[in-house]
Amino acid sequence: MPNLKDLKNRIASVKSTRKITKAMQMVAAAKLRRAQDAAEASRPYTERFTAVMAQLAASVGGSDSAPKLLSGTGGDQVHLLIVMTAERGLCGGFNSNITKLAKVHAQKLLAQGKTVKILTVGKKGRDALKREFGSYAVGHIDLSAVKRVGYVNAQDIARDVLARFDGGEYDIATIFFARFENVVTQHPTAQQIIPAKFEQAADADVTLYDYEPGEEEILADLLPRGVATAIFSALLENAASEQGARMSAMDNATRNAGEMIDKLTIQYNRSRQAVITNELIEIISGAEAL
């Protein structure tokens, strides 16, 4: 049976752990709000952008001269997986869910005899993939110095991704990130960004637009931006998901710490009583012996 002092120390240490997890939970809640606001603010841009792109793609997509970013290189041999994770841990299954999805995807491609290249964004994804897929890694983008993701960060990543595409390093690029649904649910998602895919709008109220300059020039100008936009919205979704996941993970941790404190306190009180009873027995039996 542990002695009283040990128990007391243990309770104190669990209590300070609970303070830390509680603080982390509150910080995550505040950051989550900011991340959600940022995601909300980017939505009008992304929606309009996608709508215009879909329309352009529908009218130009069929022709032979369509840009490669839209029609693809013609092959699907080399796949680039862009795995976007957090820079920090302690956020429940957030990072491992994304990397797990990426791993499954990579294994499937490898089984089909395709070539896989991996670009990681965020330290945790790189660490998780290093052992199994380290040899496929072609690059890593560090965002640990970035406090708040901006469009500039997305542009930097997009520039890297596009330079590799222009260099003929891969045929198909897919991003992996967690789509934010609510605080308890985040869906790890794979989205193909090169060649770009657009869902055709079902309600086809197609306005005929005049294009200035020509359709194809505009498309060639917009497609690289589309890559940046897709990456940007993935970064924002990821930021919100990370904070949401951390918040619920820390909430659980705080609750567990509370339960543990209760249990230890009961144990502590019982041992204390046992010690007192013991002492009393000793005193009484000592007195009787006289």
Partner: protein
């Protein structure tokens, strides 16, 4: 006079959403003014100053490229980077010029013969420099 619904959005925020009587857009192939019942048009933007005229006066925004979607009732401008004119300080402007210069240098470095990229970048730089003159900031030559 009929108004058009004007929206200016950048990836990071929505900057404006007003009923405007006219919008002057710095398009790639020259400035254009959009008013109500304009022919539906999609155009790309060059770095420049965008002017929105509405009941309460005129607002000016500095945009750094993107595109505009114009229809009979609405004008949506999707800018890569956009700031109200008043928020563009000398520091921000210098940074914009420096970025354009860096882009030009990069484009020249990997220009393979008749690549139009360097030409585009040079044009973007001169457009960016012209913004400074238009909004009254000191321009470096």
């Amino acid at each position: 006079m009929a108004n058009v619904q004007f929206d200016l959005v950048s990836p990071e925020r929505r900057l404006a959403s007003v009923a405007a009587s006219e919008v002057r857009i710095p398009a790639t192939e020259g400035d254009m003014t959009a008013m109500a019942n304009h022919l539906p048009t999609i155009t790309t933007l060059r770095p420049g100053v965008l002017v929105v005229v509405h009941d309460g006066g005129a607002d000016e925004y500095v945009v750094s490229g993107g595109f505009a979607e114009i229809s009979a009732e609405s004008v949506s401008v999707l800018a890569e980077q956009a700031l109200p004119k008043g928020e563009v300080t000398q520091g921000i402007y210098d940074q914009m010029v420096a970025d354009a210069e860096a882009a030009l240098k990069a484009a020249r470095a990997d220009a393979t013969g008749d690549d139009g990229k360097a030409v585009d970048a040079a044009k973007a730089l001169s457009d960016t420099v012209a913004i400074g003159a238009a909004i009254g900031l000191t321009t470096r030559v």
